[in-house]
């Protein structure tokens, strides 16, 4: 099914108590597409990203990845909550990169990358290690394999985090403000790695404030505000000629 979209959100809503963070979000991400989610803080873009791998449970609507409903099993017109084991199996195929890297501090860069393939997939150590070293080389950190995260710069940590997510061979990568916690001079090295991934055809959803990245790398740009999709389209067009006044107001501040 190469034509079915990778991610389909159909009127997805999410509330924390009485606070409705996402209001009926509908969008599609095609295979190999790079989508950038932009918007002011509190607009719900990170929450939406976290719903995609079931770190948050959606309150209403349907969210599916690769044709598979996330977090629920559907049978006889009824939805059944998934067992933790089934949810974990779905998450294997979805890589996630966090704003604060969240590397395991008690493991070296190499061990960080090897952990999930060994524990979750049960692969043999030798094969995993070769692959992990190749991944670290891909993100430019072959020489830093034996460093603990505390001895790596922010940009290097984030690149290890990307390698760690890639080690599970995901079909979809989610980036939650991957460069927001970095010193400005370190942003470039992380964006370069992400651009390389996009070039290799990885499907990516990126929550970001880097409009330059959105313009150059993304295939589509979605502007969210107040829990709704305000505007979406081809990045160059949306950035150059925003239609909605909220998009205009936001872009005038960040560009």
């Amino acid at each position: 099914m190469p034509d079915t979209p990778m991610v389909v959100a159909d009127r997805v809503s999410k509330s924390f108590g009485s606070n409705e963070v996402l209001k009926s979000i509908s969008l599609e991400v095609k295979r190999g597409e790079v989508m950038c989610l932009v918007g002011p803080s509190g607009s719900g873009k990170s929450t939406f990203l976290r719903c995609i791998n079931h770190l948050e449970v959606v309150s209403a609507g349907r969210l599916s990845v690769d044709g598979e409903l996330i977090g629920y099993r559907e049978a006889n017109d009824k939805l059944y909550e998934m067992r933790p084991k089934e949810a974990a199996r779905q998450r294997r195929d979805i890589g996630m990169v966090f704003q604060r890297f969240n590397l395991f501090p008690h493991m070296t860069a190499l061990q960080n990358v090897m952990e999930a393939p060994i524990r979750v997939k049960g692969l043999s150590k030798a094969g995993v290690e070769a692959n992990a070293r190749a991944l670290l080389a891909r993100v430019g950190l072959a020489e830093r394999a034996d460093y603990y995260p505390a001895h790596l710069s922010g940009g290097q940590q984030q690149r290890v985090a990307i390698a760690r997510a890639l080690a599970m061979e995901p079909k979809l990568m989610l980036f939650d403000e991957p460069t927001s916690a970095l010193d400005p001079e370190l942003v470039g090295e992380v964006l370069d790695v992400m651009q390389g991934l996009a070039r290799d055809g990885m499907t990516m959803i990126v929550v970001t404030h880097e409009m330059g990245f959105a313009r150059e790398v993304a295939d589509s740009l979605v502007f969210m505000d107040g829990g709704v999709v305000v505007e979406s389209g081809v990045p160059t067009e949306v950035l150059a000629n925003p239609q909605h006044h909220r998009t205009q107001a936001f872009l005038s501040k960040v560009l």
Binding site: N102, P105, H106, G140, Y147, Y148, M168
Partner: protein
């Protein structure tokens, strides 16, 4: 940045200043040493301490056997307490309200009553429940044996100490688990790791750094709390044994010294063990790096002599990333 002059570049000679003196520190230390020396000399001569008797009993077989029993009580009850404590801590953090409540009630009871009272209760268990029956309620038991036979005073001492200690260990472990950043659990979950894998591989190893110091405290505390098992009554441990010998020979003070020396010996060993455990779990935190090179960034900073003008803000920019080339 075209008209900015680059300052620094060559390293200035190190500062040679006269060290700050601390005359009172030294005076105080000398006075203190004198007082200690006086006390030691006095104690050595004082007949009440009866040092020859201390020497005689220090390696007396009854004492060394009792010391071994004390060590056994400590180790066994601590092992049970740690296992039970970890279980209770995880139960307390569980989203399951049933499991959570059980742990809460356990802590309420065992932390809320004195350990001495609990030990007396354990001692009376043979009186309260005269036999242990296995079978279905309200029917003839399949097996039945008297409690006093099944549970010796030694076993009851371990059970009593362990169940009390588990309540304290549970809170120590819980604090440790909570100290780990929530992003760690999220990252592990996002990688598809199960809850159990996340706990064992990610959360628990990181929480050990927080758990070990207070847990070490608890082990040392337990070593000394074993002297309370006389409440059961169990009399073969170090303190009670020393008291019993002293009661016959009237050598109370020397035997107290003997017991103290043994307690100190064990705690010293435990402290060494704790040091190595702490080192083991500090991986990734200390400043050990695979290469011993000085940090490139700091190296680049030395030799820079910034000039800060008064009344205007100065911004210190970090040097450009020295690792940029390795991509």
């Amino acid at each position: 940045m075209t008209d900015t002059a680059v300052s620094g570049g060559k390293t200035e000679p190190g500062i040679k200043a006269i060290r700050l003196r601390h005359p009172w520190r030294n005076t105080f230390a000398v006075v203190l040493l004198l007082i200690v020396a006086l006390f030691v000399v006095d104690a050595a001569m004082r007949p009440a301490y009866d040092w020859p008797a201390v020497g005689k009993y220090l390696f007396d077989q009854r004492i060394s056997q009792a010391a071994f029993v004390t060590l056994q009580l400590t180790v066994y009850s601590m092992i049970i307490a740690i296992i039970l404590g970890v279980t209770l801590a995880i139960m307390r953090l569980s989203p399951n309200p049933v499991v959570n409540s059980i742990a809460w009630v356990y802590l309420w009871v065992f932390r809320g009553t004195p350990v001495y009272v609990q030990l007396v209760f354990w001692g009376l268990i043979g009186t309260i429940y005269q036999s242990i029956d296995i079978g279905l309620p309200f029917t003839e038991p399949w097996v039945s044996f008297p409690t006093r036979v099944a549970l010796s005073a030694f076993v009851l001492a371990i059970v009593g100490l362990a169940l009390n200690e588990a309540a304290y260990m549970a809170e120590i472990v819980r604090a440790g688990l909570l100290s780990v950043d929530s992003g760690q659990e999220e990252a592990a979950t996002a990688l598809g790791m199960s809850w159990f894998q996340t706990m064992v591989r990610v959360i628990v190893p990181q929480s050990m750094r927080v758990i070990i110091p207070p847990a070490g405290n608890e082990v040392i505390s337990m070593l000394k709390t074993t002297s309370l098992v006389t409440a059961i009554p169990f009399t073969l441990e170090l303190y009670t044994r020393s008291r019993d010998i002293a009661a016959v020979t009237f050598e109370t003070v020397p035997l107290l010294i003997v017991a103290s020396i043994w307690y100190l010996f064990f705690t010293s060993i435990l402290m060494v063990g704790q040091y190595f455990l702490e080192k083991r779990f500090a991986r990734g935190i200390g400043d050990r790096r695979p290469d011993k090179k000085a940090d490139d960034a700091t190296a680049a900073m030395t030799g820079v002599t910034p000039v800060v003008g008064s009344g205007q803000p100065t911004v210190v920019l970090p040097p450009t990333d020295p690792h940029k080339g390795d991509r």
